[in-house]
Amino acid sequence: MEEYNYKSRRKFIRDIAGAGAFLAFYSFPTSLLANTDAYTKITILHTNDWHSRIEPFPEDGGKFSGMGGAVFRASIINEIRKQEKNVLLLDDGDVFQGTPYFNFYGGELEYRLMSKMGYDAGTLGNHDFDAGLDGLNKQLVHANFPILNANYNFSNTLLKDKFKPYQVFVKDGVRIGVFGIGIKLDGLVPAKMYGDTQYNDPIETAKKTVAILKEEEHCEIVICLSHLGYKYKENIVSDEILAAQTKDIDLIIGGHTHTFMDAPASIKNSAGNEVLIFQVGWAGINLGRVDFFLEKKSKRKWSKHHTVIVAKKTNQNNPK
């Protein structure tokens, strides 16, 4: 494992089971882990609302001076991949719009760079419609990763069959279901841009999709790429509402509201279990990371409401 000289804020956001359980987990001999195949770790990396910020913000003394940029994002992702076996790299949409790179190249460079960085999946944000359905269609050839959305129906458009609702990834024997949920386009995106795209209810669609991922696809981890936005003062469907009104989602990767979260939010779902929501600002300034530590046991040994400890990463390998 390589060493880095990075600063890191380290704090536990929650430790329900106490330090004992936490330490016990870590002191487990790694050789035994490898032999029994009873433990594994899945690393999720994520971005949201890149908005065509190919290069870092200019060094002009502004708020985000020198921050972001595809070059160092790729470097950090590569370093993490050297350390971790089971990495999934996900994006939450609004890849397009914000710099001349989009005005002049229509999103081609954004998708090419994401393909090169090895993104496993993305989704659609409202601004990904900014060059219309035709504009989006032209760029899909540059994305070598699936773009997932479950609640837009493109049947009557030229984008019919271009997007899958979900994808299942298998890492180290763990089945990870990832699906996408988009925001209501009417009133947000000019009608001529989204054409005959039909919007379906995010909550109902999420429930149906999660049921498929759990019961038919037998996923052990379910991740929602949601472009609904973190939360609103008004009663508008958001990640918080999505988390609370569904069950069996483990992680909501959020976007749209450009929220810089201090830590992932933890929300109780309709079955009383915790769902994490994480969103890392916008413009590619931050790369989010969530590690799932899994243990293999026979089904009867798991209670329905087992406790999951959520903690800030405490290792030294943190490229801050």
């Binding site: 160092f72 914000g98 590690d291 490229p319």
Partner: protein
């Protein structure tokens, strides 16, 4: 044989087992060029290079200079004031008539500010990346009041020609070009096609007849810089007040 049996047994046992999450850790990597200890990914630089080279000569051209940093703020900021004033002035030239009010969505201005110093073409693209076009229409004072009500509720937006105060999320003390708002009066109103067509759920302008010129707001800003003495020296003038 013995080993194989054991292995088979283990396989069978494993089949009845499932993975469950026992712990989740999270982290966040801050990407800032100066602070990285990792080296730059040259393959990414290589992909960007041809695009960047083709854009840079055009985008790094200086179109003006700025004496004081413009910044966006709620209920009012110098960036929003500048933008709304500039578009109103350019719209008057374009339409050859007096425009009483211009109004835009704060979410449509996509950068937080324009730093003091030279202003590059790219900055104008980043401020106004959308290909939104200018729209002019005649509305009555009642409709203008509805627009201000809508804006006050969400804390204010870039506006020109109007001064008012937000009290309890409602507009009060409204003046249009220094005269009190008259609900029955007709006003010439400029905005972008996004809002005029119901963007941001601003549905009440959809049916108002519109004068279109197919001119982008971004190009109007470029025109503004051509015809104005530099450097720009713009401060917020207190047109939208928040009463606490």
């Amino acid at each position: 044989m013995y080993k194989k049996t054991i292995y088979l047994l283990l396989m069978l046992l494993a089949a009845c087992k499932t993975y469950h999450t026992t712990q989740i850790q999270w982290d966040e990597y801050h990407i800032e060029t100066k602070k990285q200890a990792v080296s730059a990914d040259t393959s990414i630089i290589g992909i960007i290079a041809p695009y960047k080279n083709a854009l840079d000569s055009q985008m790094n051209a200086i179109i003006g200079t700025n004496a004081i940093t413009l910044s966006s703020k709620k209920p009012e900021g110098s960036l929003g004031d500048f933008f709304a004033d500039a578009i109103r002035e350019e719209a008057e030239k374009l339409y050859h008539k007096k425009i009483d009010v211009s109004f835009f969505n704060s979410g449509g201005l996509r950068i937080q500010g324009i730093a003091a110093g030279p202003i590059k073409v790219t900055t104008i693209y980043e401020l106004m990346p959308f290909d939104n076009e200018i729209v002019v229409m005649t509305i009555d004072g009642n409709t203008l009041f509805k627009i201000l009500e809508y804006s006050a509720k969400r804390g204010g937006d870039p506006i020109s020609g109007v001064r008012y105060t937000i009290q309890d999320n409602k507009p009060i003390n409204i003046t249009v070009n220094n005269e009190a708002l008259v609900l029955a009066h007709q006003y010439v109103y400029a905005t972008n096609d996004y809002l005029a067509n119901g963007g941001d759920n601003m549905n009440f302008l959809k049916d108002v007849p519109k004068e279109l010129k197919s001119v982008k707001l971004r190009d109007m800003l470029f025109e503004y810089f051509k015809s104005h003495p530099q450097p720009l020296n713009y401060t917020a003038d207190g047109r939208v007040q928040l009463q606490k």
